[in-house]
Structures are given as structure tokens and as C-alpha cells.
């Protein structure tokens, strides 16, 4: 009888311990060590890509490390990033449009990372038991996109840590959130991510404005970058207003002579319902 009691108590204890992990495991959610490896590999790929002659074998090797996260996002978001990145890797290795394919790889990872963060926010909202582990993973994922926040702070806020500080504050709030305050923290994080990538689109369009009279090849690369950045914020804009989304797509893909970054900023702000320059 005593033995039975012990068995029941231990079973209860163990099942309690693993209860919160159970839902994660069912969905093969990448755990913090895997996320950290993924983030490091993404940063390493960016570093290799920055070289004049990027070593495609080295990028391939790093890409294998990122695969668990890329495949997980492909499965939960019905996306196709694995194929897209592999295609770009092949083209890069063959020397085909290296600037453009390099951007597809680099910025593709930013898409995957933001989708991974959104997925973690969904898991949090679905089950309050997930808040803490999800917040840890989100913090780990964020390191992969932090360089973009630093760059946009430098370009749009004179180096003052505006976006980066907002993101860090939101991450901190998220780690402390409960079921009710979760919405505030997750919205704040989503807002600062949206702002950063909207400013990234804007930055690329400003670069096109500067170079459209002299360097069309550079403009082509910048347009690809803008397109990939826009893909990150497009679902939110499309949900709010399909018309604003279509207008923005037309503006981004319009002839270089017709591109007007001020007009694009206006539509981005309207589409996201956010003041992009708020300091």
C-alpha cells in the first residue's frame, strides 16, 4: 500500500514537472540550446557573407546548423524557407547574382527569426504555462535580429538606442508577464519589430533614391532587400488594409524614377498604424 502511495506521488511529481514541456515537445519547438546555435549560425553566415568573396561551403556548413529552426518554421507557418534559402545557396555557389542571392539568404533568416518569435508569442498566448520558456526562447531569437535594430537606430535615431531599448524593455516585460498583461508585452514587442523592419524598408528605398541616377545594379540589390524586409511586416499591413498593402507593393516595385521614400513612409505608417519615427 505504501509502495503504491510512493508510486502515485512520484508519478504526480514527474508528470507535473514535464507538463509544461509537453506541449512544446508535441510541436517539436526548438529548445534554447538549438535556438542559440541557430542564432550563432545566422550571425556567422552574415559575417561570411560580408566578405568580398563569400565562402559558399562555409555558408552551407552553417546553414545545416540552422535547419531545425528553418524546418520547424516551414512546418508551423506553411512556409518554404528551406527551399528558398537552398536555391539561393546553390546560385551563390555558382556565382549567379551573388549580391542578390546573398541578400535572399541573409534577409531570409531575418524572416525566419521574426516568424519564430511570432510563433513563440502564439504559444504564450495559447497557454499561460508557456510564458516563461517562450520568453526565454524569444530573448534568444532576438539576438539574431538585434544587429538590424542597432543599424536602424544608427540611421534614423542618430545612434540613440531607441528601437533596441524598446525591444529590450518589451522582452523584459514579456519575461514578467502573466496571462492578462501578456497582450501588452507581446504587442509592444511586435510593434517595435514592425517599426524596425518598416524603417528597414524605408532605408533601402532611400538608398535607391540616392543611387537611382548612378548605380542601377546597386538599386536592384536594394529593391530585393526592401522586398524581403517588407515581407516581414506585410501580413500585418495586409490584414489591416489590403489596399495599403497593394499600394506599398506597387511603390516598392515601381520604376526607380517614381520611388518616393516620403510617400512610402506615409503608407507604411498608415498600414501599421504606428508612428515610425517616435523616439
Amino acid at each position: 500500500m505504501k509502495n503504491l502511495l510512493y508510486v502515485i506521488i512520484f508519478s504526480a511529481l514527474i508528470s507535473n514537472c514535464f507538463a509544461s514541456l509537453d506541449s512544446d515537445k508535441k510541436q517539436n519547438v526548438p529548445q534554447p540550446p538549438v535556438v542559440k546555435q541557430y542564432v550563432n549560425a545566422c550571425l556567422e553566415i552574415e559575417r561570411i557573407r560580408a566578405n568580398k568573396n563569400p565562402d559558399s561551403n562555409a555558408i552551407n556548413a552553417q546553414y545545416e546548423i540552422t535547419l531545425p529552426v528553418v524546418k520547424y518554421i516551414d512546418s508551423v507557418c506553411a512556409a518554404n524557407y528551406d527551399k528558398e534559402i537552398r536555391d539561393a545557396l546553390k546560385k551563390l555557389a555558382a556565382g549567379e547574382k551573388p549580391e542578390i542571392n546573398g541578400q535572399i539568404i541573409g534577409k531570409g533568416f531575418q524572416n525566419v527569426t521574426v516568424l519564430a518569435i511570432r510563433q513563440e508569442l502564439n504559444l504564450m498566448a495559447a497557454d499561460p504555462n508557456n510564458i516563461k520558456p517562450c520568453a526565454e526562447r524569444i530573448a534568444a531569437y532576438f539576438e539574431g535580429i538585434r544587429p538590424t535594430f542597432i543599424r536602424r537606430d544608427k540611421g534614423f535615431f542618430e545612434g540613440k538606442k531607441t528601437l533596441e531599448a524598446s525591444a529590450d524593455a518589451a522582452l523584459e516585460q514579456l519575461s514578467k508577464a502573466d496571462k492578462t498583461s501578456l497582450l501588452t508585452a507581446s504587442r509592444e514587442l511586435e510593434d517595435v519589430i514592425a517599426r524596425t523592419y518598416a524603417l528597414s524598408v524605408l532605408y533601402e528605398m532611400q538608398e535607391i533614391e540616392k543611387s537611382r541616377d548612378s548605380d542601377l545594379k546597386f538599386c536592384d540589390v536594394k529593391r530585393v532587400e526592401a522586398g524581403i524586409f517588407y515581407r516581414i511586416i506585410m501580413p500585418r499591413i495586409e490584414k489591416r488594409s489590403p489596399k495599403i498593402n497593394q499600394t506599398l507593393l506597387n511603390l516598392i516595385n515601381g520604376s526607380y524614377g517614381a520611388i518616393d521614400s516620403k510617400e512610402i513612409e506615409k503608407y507604411l505608417a498608415a498600414g501599421l498604424a504606428i508612428n515610425l519615427r517616435q523616439s
Binding site: 510512493y6 506521488i9 512520484f10 566578405n51 498566448a125 497582450l183 501588452t184 489596399k243 499600394t247 524614377g257
Partner: protein, 677 residues
Amino acid sequence: MRKLWLVVLLMIAIAGILIILKPGKKAEAEIRPEVLNVSSSQATIAWLSEKKYKGLVFFQPAGDAAALLPAAETFGASGQHEVILTGLWPSTRYTYRVGDSKARFQFQTQPAVTDPFSFLIVWGDISDRVVPLMRSELAEFIISLTPPSGQNFDQFSDVRPYVPVYGSSGIDSPFLRAAAGRHQTDSGNLWKLDWGGLRLIFVGGAVDTAKIADLFNTPAAHTIGIITSLGTIGEFESKKISESALHSALVSHNKQHPAKPAAFVAVIGKDADNVEVDGVQYFGISSGTKSSGAIRIDVDVESVRAVFIDENRELALKQPPLKQKRTCEECRRLADKGAYEESIKAYLEFIEAHKGSFQIDDAYYAIADIYDNKLFEFDKALTWYRRLISEYSDSTFTALANQRIKYISAYSDYDYKPLASFERIKAIEYARKKDQPQERNRIFNEVKSLIKEYPDSNLAPVMQHWLANQYRLSNPDKAVEAYMALRKNYSGHSEAQEAMVEIGETYYDAGRYKEAIIAFKQALNESPALADTIKTQIARAQRNIRRDKISYACWIVLAITCGIAFLRKPRSVETSRIFWSFVVFVITGVLLSFGAWLIHEQFNSLKEMLLIVFFFSTTTAVSTLISMSFTDKLLAKNNRSVLAAVAGTMAGIIFFLAGIYLTIYYVYVHYLIVVKL
């Protein structure tokens, strides 16, 4: 012994359970506010408390670092608090907290009439889904078709601090229910909710159509929607619906106000189905047959759609007049292969064949774009851009068309001749041949001739500026000459405003820092508005001059220390000294390689890392050799060993510092920022 083990295990198990269940951490009674009565400029935050006090709310626009604004309750201390926040911006999200509470919440003000927004219609028990739904669907309010249970359980408690919740007979609020007597919560079987440009009318049963018609008179709203029950329309069938009193009222309104139509009717109690009757979209909400569900309604000026979240299905409730969009693939293919005239012909045929049936604004834009950017026939391009804007004013291409109209109109003088030539040069010749120096110069001369031919044209300063910018990439002197010409000939033009700054930047890019500083200083006088940027540039130029000077000084230091160490008599260097220097080189090399590998991501490339490791190790080894050689020579001259050792070490350190500086200066000069040089 066995019993003792069992007791220990039992205690561990109990402790584990206690830690997991955290019984001591039972949630304190936290304030759960509700958002009530949100308009475009104010919102009411309400909550209940056991103790009586005067409520206070602090708020600020979300994401704003500005200080929190306080808003206090109007009446005295009570246990039922209502705080009205005023002076808000439309369509803006605000973060707020109640009193000293740490919990922060957000609400969104109503949008302006023309701004888009979304809301949710939900039914059944969605308590497990309500937070995820609010997060993913970005709804501004919720309509619940299930009456509140009346028990303590409130399935919306987690989202009430964020959005107002409405029921079929008015606002659904535990606060208002608790404060019954002060407030009337039941709006009866006919009431309206205005949100942005939408007026939602709730019809709870058989009602007087005249009363419904009264609710249609909405000067601001662009769309009217009805939520009603199956009983109001009889049966969910076109014929029966068209005979209903409600439908007659809707049709009559739509005839009088076609621009602000009653676009849809949501019918509660009908299985998911939809039918369009006289331009009004009726759709069923199966609140009875399915235990729970949610529909998101997206509202924009010209379109409204219902997204059935659980069914992965969308339904257009209101559409622009020309709803279908088709693209002429053949026309586009012709344009892509350079057959522009044929492409235009094909587009014209496409327009003729589909006019009035499809949204063909993209065909208009494509024709305008071909005339504009491929054929450089700007008058025709303008015609098509203008036709696009007048015939499809709501097109998503109008922003682009407006940009081009503005640009082309600004440079339309001389019958577009300078514009056509310049655009052709830029888009075709320069894009293809700018990497061939001879061709590039020929193109520049062509632009110069254009400026000479049309010196008074509106485009002349633009061309002059373009010329200067292109020279800047290959010939700084010619660039400066062109910028000076721009300043001289077109001094009042906007293109010339920053020419002096650009001259400074041209010199800076060419490494001619002294000339850059002179130019920047002149620019500082001319453009005080750019003072911050110019001062930064001057500081950067001065810093680079300083770095150059330090590098020259370092070379001199190296020459002197080497000269004294190796050329001064006795000139020989002991083999053992060279051996030990080599040992230093190897040890330093290994240590630095290991350290550099640890922080390898800080370097721009592997080559850069290896160069720094190699030259740092070499400098260390040579400075050791110099130190020893210097000491030996001083010792040979007099016997003061301590002084000789100190002087030798100093010489080694000076050589080492100079060597390190030069390594960084030549490998990657920006690392000098680390030591504030």
C-alpha cells in the same frame, strides 16, 4: 533504514509538489480594469475595488518614451471607479496603468472615418482562445453573441482591459452589471454602435422599420452593417429575405445613398451560409449548432470582408464597383522583350475588351510607364497617368502616378526635349556603359552639351548636379568644378543648396582632408541648418589628419629606435638575442591567435585577423630584440646596469607602441576609435 529512505523520499516528493503548486503565491487581488466607451478622442477605464478611494489612471501613447499623463476620477472616493481619458488621438494605441499597479494594459482609440480596422464576432465558450484571438486578429472590439452566464466566471476577463466587449443588447460589462442602478446596460432590441466609418445596427426581433430607417441617417459612416436573428428575416432564402421588412428598409436606403450602403446582414442562428440579395450580403452565424466560433470583420472604406477563422474561409461583404482584377500577361510579355509599341497596342485592346468589367488600372499604369520610361514620350505618359487617376481614383497605382506627374510636369519646358534626352542618357546609355572610362566621358560630354543647349531649362540644374555626382566617383577635381558651376549658374536652385557640403565630401572621400575642412567651413557659414552634420564632418577630417601625422611620427620613431639599436656600435646582435626574440614571436603569435579566435566575429575577415596577429607578434618580438640590443649597447658604454635596463625597456616599449599603431593604421584604421584616436 529502509523506512528512513522512504520518509526522505516522501518529504522530497511533498516539497516538489509544494514548489510546483506554489500554494503560498496565490494571486493577490489585482485590479482588472475594463475599457468602456472608446471614441476617437476619449476612453473610459472602469474597475471595482473593495476599499473606497478616488481612482487614478496613468496613460501614454504606446511606444512613446514621454511621461505618463494622469487622469483622475471626477467624483469622490468610491468602490466603483470610472476614469475618463480625454485629449486622445484617433486610431492610436495607448498604454495605461491603474494607480500604483504594476500591470500595464493597452487600448486603441476609434479610427478616423476613413481608416481601416477589424473587430471580432464570437460565440460560445471561447475562454481558452480569447487571448490568442486578440493577439493574432488585432481586433478593436468584440461582439459576443452568447449572453453572459451570470456566474462569477467571465470568459472575457483577460481582454476587457484592452477592448470593449458588446453583447446583442448593448455593452457587456461586469462593471456596469455590478453598478446596476447607476447605469442602464440593456439597450433593448434595437441599438447602434458607431466605430470609425462603420455603423452596426443590432436588430433583436420584429421592430418598426421606421425606427431602423432612422438609424441609417449617418453622415459620417461609409458602411452600414446589421446584426440580427433568423426570426427577423423569416427564412434564409433569397425570396423570403427580399420580402422581409428589414430588407425593404435596406434597399430603400441603398437607393437613396449608394455611396454609403447598408452592405451586409449577419444572421444569428443560421448555419454558415451566405446569399446576396439586391446587393446586400447576408451571411449566417451558426451560433446554435457549433459550440463556439469566431469571425473577424475587416472594415475599409471600399471593402468589408468577413474572415471565418475556424473555417479558413473569407467572404467579401462589400467590394469596389469593379471588383475583379485581371492582368494582360501577353501585353506584359511584349513589353519585357522590348516590343513597346506592340505592347501598348495589346494593352489598348485589353482595355477596350474589358472596360467596365474588370479593374484595369494596372493596364493604364503599364501604358503610362512604357511611354514614360521606355519610349520617353512624356506628353502621352502624362495623359495616361491622368486618365488612371481620374477613372480609377481609388487605384493602388495613384500614388506612383502622382509622383511621375509631379516630376514630368516640373521639367516639361522646351517641349520635354531636355527631359527626354537626359532620361534616355541616364536610363540606357549611362546604365550600360558607365564602367568604360571613354564611354563614360563621352556621356558626360553629352550631358554638358545638353546643359549648354538648354541653360535656362528647369532641368539644367538637375543635370549639372547629376554630372557633379557622377564625376565624384571617378574624378574629384572635375566633380568640384561641376559643383562650383552649379553654385555659380544656379545659385537659387534647391539642387545648389548643399553644393558646398558636397564639395567638402568629395575632398574627404578623396583623402584630401585639408581642402575638405576649408570647404566644410565655408558650408558652415552658408548652411547653418546643417551645422551639426558639417561640424561632424570637420571633426572627422581633423581626426584623419591627426591620424596621418601620428603615422608619420611612428615611422620616425621606428627608424630612430632601430637605428640606435642596430646601427650604433657595436653593430653586432647576439644570436641568442635573436633566438629569444623568435621565441617571443612564437609565444605571442600563439596567444594572440587563440585570443583572436575567441573574438573572431569582431573582425571583418580572416585575412584581417591574421594580419593583425602577425604584425602584433612581429612588433612584440622586434621590440624585445630592440630592448635587449639597446640595453647591451648602453652596458657596453658604462656599467650602470639598472639605468641601461630601464632605457632599453623604454626603447622597446616606444617601438612596440609605434608598431602597434602602424599595424592598426594600415590594416583597419577604424579600430583606432577603440583608443579614441
